[in-house]
Amino acid sequence: MSHQTLSTILFLLFVAITLGITFRASRSTKDAAGFYAGNRSFSGAQNGLAIGGDYMSAASFLGIAGTIALSGYDGFLYSIGFLVAWLVALLLVAELMRNSGKFTMADVLAFRMSPRPVRTAAGVSTIVVSIFYLLAQMVGAGALVGLLLGVTSPAGKALTIVAVGLLMIVYVVVGGMKGTTWVQIVKAVLLMGGATLITLLVLGKYGFNLSGLLGDAAAQSGKGEAFLNPGGKYGTEAQGLAGKLDLISLGLALVLGTAGLPHILIRFYTVPTAKEARKSVLWGIGIIGVFYLLTLVLGFGAAALVGGKAIAAQDKAGNTAAPMLAEAIGRAVFGEVGGTILLAVIAAVAFATILAVVAGLTLASSSSFAHDLYAHVFKRGQTTDREEIAVARIAAFVIGAVAIGLGILAQKQNVAFLVALAFAVAASGNLPAILYSLFWRRFNTSGAVWAIYGGLASALLLVIFSPVVSGAETSLIPGADFSWFPLSNPGLVSIPLGFLFGYLGTVLSKEHNAAKYAEIEVRSLTGVGAEKAAQH
């Protein structure tokens, strides 16, 4: 049996199991708390796994392993930013958010503000961030199937994108938060299992001598010791000062973006109490931390055992490094059949990874559309649960269709920058608004609106005028040059701007609601009046 057939069978098995769970979960998505928050009935450990499943995208699994395999150490910089970011979520956001919000990020932002302008801004930002992230994953899915299953025609890739899109729509529309969470839990277990297995096999081959593995990787790379140092990909000496500032900018966006990503924030609502929210982040940090340590071995292992040349020949970005390593180590340890089986397993895990992440993103954006824009802005809060969920389901269809369409159109574009951009927008617009809301007495409607739109617009405009869009060989529009901002990640400028906009918007308006500040302060710290778990 070829690895393609086996991969497909394993993947279909994953789909069958998760669809089964989703349809079971559909029984408890009859009301808003069920659909948006899974009745707040998940335990901290379950939600921690789901956080891992939601967060560890194909970009981090395949992308970081690939970056390390091809460029060495620099891939690790990404992992560290992605992990340290969780401390912001743990210390400043998770518990307070669980106590003061209900279903969406906007619930917290609009808490003591004039609801319509703030919910509109938060809804727009949620949908923009989620669609960027979603698009990167969809295009990645198309590329991945090409590489792993040998589908090379554009029609074949388009078909994959359609299939991924339809599956994520089904998970969200049928299973709501409960179904999506279970998909993420199953995926997290599979991903951790697969990554641990390959890591142990690789380390075993080197007698658990990390130094030996690193030495082999450096020698195979042809770059020698430089392969184990920073500077192989980001902020290379050739890029000069701009390159190094770009590295700082990326680092800031990664570490501050996570706690502003809507699909991550809504996970805190799926547990019954703030204590469980804390526990879920602790579990999440453990799982995500271990996972990135495994990725380090996978990346250097691929460099040592497969070799950069062979990896780059399959995919210039190195996205197939981890699957290729699985095949190589499987063959070395268990023979030909072992190689085929391990490759198939890792390929199937990669698809499961993509599915779980896109489902979370679709849920976050459709929830925000229905709960924030439709129910609170358009209908001014005069809706029923039933109507709101119906709108959320329709929104999931529409957003899914948009993501499929854009994903097919953008197939040939290099959209990897969209993930970093989503983090930058989240850090520049959402995070300032969230932190000010929770901690700054004086903060008001005008400040919230300024922070979100100001941060969002700064990040987007700076990217449009950066080498990402024009002026370089790798730009989206390589022929034109209207770039004047030298960094490809806007964070270094747009994050301070977001905080500044929030400050200016606040002091330029006299509005202030002391009673509502007392309420959010007491509620966020003590849980008095917080949403309870539903009894079902």
Binding site: D31, A33, Y73, F76, L77, I80, G81, L83, V84, W86, L87, V88, L90, L91, L92, E95, K102, S211, G212, L214, G215, A218, E225, A226, L228, N229, P230, G231, G235, K244, L247, I248, G251, L252, V255, K275, R278, V281, L282, I285, G286, G289, Y292, D385, A514, A515, K516, A518, E519, E521, V522, L525, T526, G527, V528, G529, E531, K532, A534, Q535
Partner: protein, 115 residues
Amino acid sequence: MTTRQHDSSLYEQIQSEERFQELKRRFRAWVFPMTAVFLVWYLLYVVLSAWARGFMGTKVLGNINVALIFGLLQFVSTFLIAWAYSRHAARRLDPLADEIRHEAEGRTDVKGGTE
């Protein structure tokens, strides 16, 4: 939102109590400095990765260099801070927060939405 009008005065009352102010102090006095610490520690790592490559490339043990150790220390510090926070919260924050919440919920009906 499901909050009713009379709740606001209750929240302001709790806010003005010494006990709540103590909870807020304990929370902020731990969380704010620690956030500054881990952000500076992380930025130091990123800045050194950009500008101090000679130092980062220094070999310590076989092929294991300063860059790798520094990176792994970021993992260690993240795990330690997370563990320390959960300990601080369980010992110094939760008892006080629970006390205030139970009392408030006994005083009046401030239960959140129960749908």
